[in-house]
Amino acid sequence: MNFDYNEEQQLLADSVRRFLAKDYAFEARRKIVASKDGWSPAVWSTLAEMGLTGLPFSPDYGGFGGGAVDLMGVMEAAGEAMLVEPYLATVGLGAQFVARAGNDAQKKAILPAVVEGKLKMAFAQTEKGARYNLARVQAHAQKAGGGWEISGEKLVVLGAPAADKFVVSAKTENGLSLFLVDSSARGLKIKSYVTLDEQRAGDVSFSEAPGELLGAEGGALPVIEEVVDFATALICAEAVGAMKFACDATLEYLKTRKQFGVPIGTFQALQHRMVDMYVSYEQAKSMACLAASKSDPPVDAKDRARSISAAKIKIADNVRHISQESIQLHGGMGMSEELKVSHTFRRLTMIAQQFGDAEHHLARFAALS
């Protein structure tokens, strides 16, 4: 039993935190969010230089061979700073499929480029009416020449506007499968937009777009579940960082804001609510530790899924609690977009529903019990 990060993990998390505090402070982030593309090539190349884009990939492809626990401290730091770069889409989703399901040629072609920060990816999965059901896919693929052609519509593809390559789920006559499709492929169209939490996403349509099979034809569902669980563990850690900021900022406000001649933190009604936020944070952090520790192989698939769902239930409930209270305790100021805490609110609100809300994971947890 040991809950500390090892020295390397701690050093990495600290250096990420230092970099983000310096170059990704609230004003700098605001400019990036307002820019045309909504992410920063300069920041992205720094993330690559720091080894973050290579962290969870095999040294065979230039990576550092880390796992979810190694990423946990990074994601906490990202959550505190509310990083909007397409890091989760690339490192937590797209390239994970290549690392877990790809053949050696695909890994060689893609992973070193991801590690070096030269290639960004996105995972095109959600479809109209599918909600959180990962098996409900209408997009389809058929053999054409030596390769495949993919057709279908994917919604809210995180990081789509920045992606160089997509991992797309589609059905063949043998069942659910995964395909690699270049963003420049013919028949591929992206309608880009900004999400509530200030990230970039898009609806992506494929019309007989040429693609390459990734992994076993018809055997994609277990891999999709595995990678989505991995990404869920990462946003649980990100949530912990964002919750920490929300709690810290609220506590600071209670100590400095004066009404009736005294700091409002002297009022017991507010003290107890602040304590409950803090307890909520600690409970959520515990579940994020569980999620990270169960995300890396070799964990039994059922054990992994059950643990991730348990974590996401707790995270979903507690991010709602903490984000709502952080606004209430800031009074009118919390409503203002001038305060970072209102932006944390937006990210935490979306985390509660990303990769399954509490109700989805309650059902999944029960089905696995």
Binding site: E282, S286, K314
Partner: protein, 399 residues
């Protein structure tokens, strides 16, 4: 990061689990499983079994019978006891009076009282709360006047848990009421319950159970050698005890057992549609949320233990968090258990009435609603959860 116990810790857990399985008498196991009230004999019997094994006071120094276990081992032991469903070890002697004497007692006091506490030959209770002094303990009024080599004690204690079983009581009393600071002038006295002038009156709780009492003191003569530490320094002693909390404040092992039991019998109960209640999504979601809260609390508790083990520091305000969450979970489980039996929660089996005289209803089922009533106490006792929030607010958050 590794959330699992080390090989040594797992081996220790298996040893404890195996020993408890072999040595917890079946009749005691059944009483606990059926939520029956335990008598003095039941409690002391289990105490003596553990004393014989040498496991009754793990935290004490080795020379007085302690086990030399580290904080993680102590936690594992207590949680395994909870999970196995052993009778509780009554804390007043082992975890309160004992540690106080070890820290503040004279050699004579240690020699006189500690062996009896260890062996379960003397049953202790705690005289803190008074009718006018609950959370505001320092306002206590029971007074002790020095007359030669005795104190004369007059006043009243209340909510005295298991006072009707007790041979001795440790009390906070006021020895000087002239001081402006209320915490000063309080002393810590050990009092033999057989002393003339002591009257114990039962307080029956809403579940029909008798576990707490009022204790009246009417010119009770207490020898001065029963004063612990200095006269007027009782508050220092009381504060020391607050920092001497047990490892299992969250009662996670016991809640795990209750959760498993609830799942099992919710599988046998039928929902409105005739299918097992456990498959009813509305019921199931409530149950899962409690289960997840309990998983989180267990990991939180282990995280705190890991920190304590590294830093060597006592747990401080973290214990307050475990108390808040642990008791909320216990209450939620008792509420869901009652809810699970639906209309059959109505027949009343008062606590303390055993199965023999039963009535026409199912004995176990009829115990669930009284238990729900009884468990409302958990967020009130041992420092109400609001007091715990005050502690975190002040100590951890600096508000």
């Amino acid at each position: 990061m590794d959330l699992n116990y080390s090989q040594d810790e797992s081996a220790f857990r298996d040893e404890v689990r195996g020993w408890l399985k072999a040595n917890l008498p079946q009749d005691l196991r059944d009483k606990i499983a059926n939520y029956e009230e335990l008598g003095r004999g039941d409690l002391l019997r289990w105490h003596k079994i553990l004393a014989k094994k040498g496991w009754v006071a793990p935290a004490w120094p080795k020379e007085f019978g302690g086990t030399d276990w580290n904080v993680v081992q102590r936690y594992i032991f207590e949680e395994e006891c909870g999970f196995a469903g052993t009778p509780p070890l009554i804390p007043f002697g082992l975890s309160m009076c004992g540690p106080v004497l070890l820290r503040f007692g004279t050699d004579a006091q240690k020699k006189r009282f500690l062996p009896d506490i260890y062996n379960g030959d003397v049953f202790w209770c705690q005289g803190y709360s008074e009718p006018g002094s609950g959370s505001d303990l320092a306002s206590l009024k029971t007074r002790a006047e020095r007359r030669g080599d005795h104190y004369i004690v007059n006043g009243q204690k209340t909510w005295t848990t298991l006072g009707h079983f007790a041979d001795w009581i440790f009390c906070l009393v006021r020895t000087d009421s002239s001081l402006s600071k209320r915490q000063e002038g309080i002393s810590f006295l050990l009092i033999d319950m057989k002393t003339p002038g002591i009257t114990v009156r039962p307080l029956i709780l809403m579940d029909g159970g008798h576990e707490v009492n009022e204790v009246f003191f009417d010119d009770v003569k207490v020898p001065v050698e029963n004063l612990v530490y200095e006269e007027g320094k009782g508050w220092t002693v009381a504060k020391y005890l607050l920092g001497h909390e047990r490892m299992n404040t969250g009662r996670i092992g016991a809640s795990k057992r209750e959760l498993a039991k609830l799942k099992e019998f919710a599988g046998r109960q039928k929902g409105d549609d005739g299918r097992p209640l456990i498959e009813d999504a509305r019921f199931r979601d409530k149950l899962t949320r409690v289960e997840v809260e309990l998983m989180a609390l267990e990991i939180t508790n282990l995280r705190f233990l890991d920190q304590m083990r590294r830093s060597g520091q006592p747990p401080g305000a973290d214990v307050s968090m475990l108390k808040i969450k642990g008791t909320e979970i216990q209450q939620a489980l008792s509420e869901l258990s009652m809810q699970a039996v639906g209309p059959m929660a109505q027949p009343f089996r008062p606590a303390g009435i055993d199965g023999a005289g039963g009535g026409a209803f199912d004995h176990f089922t009829a115990g669930l609603a009284p238990r729900y009533c009884n468990f409302r106490k958990t967020t009130i006792y041992a420092g109400s959860n609001e007091i715990q929030r005050n502690i975190i607010s002040k100590m951890t958050l600096g508000l």
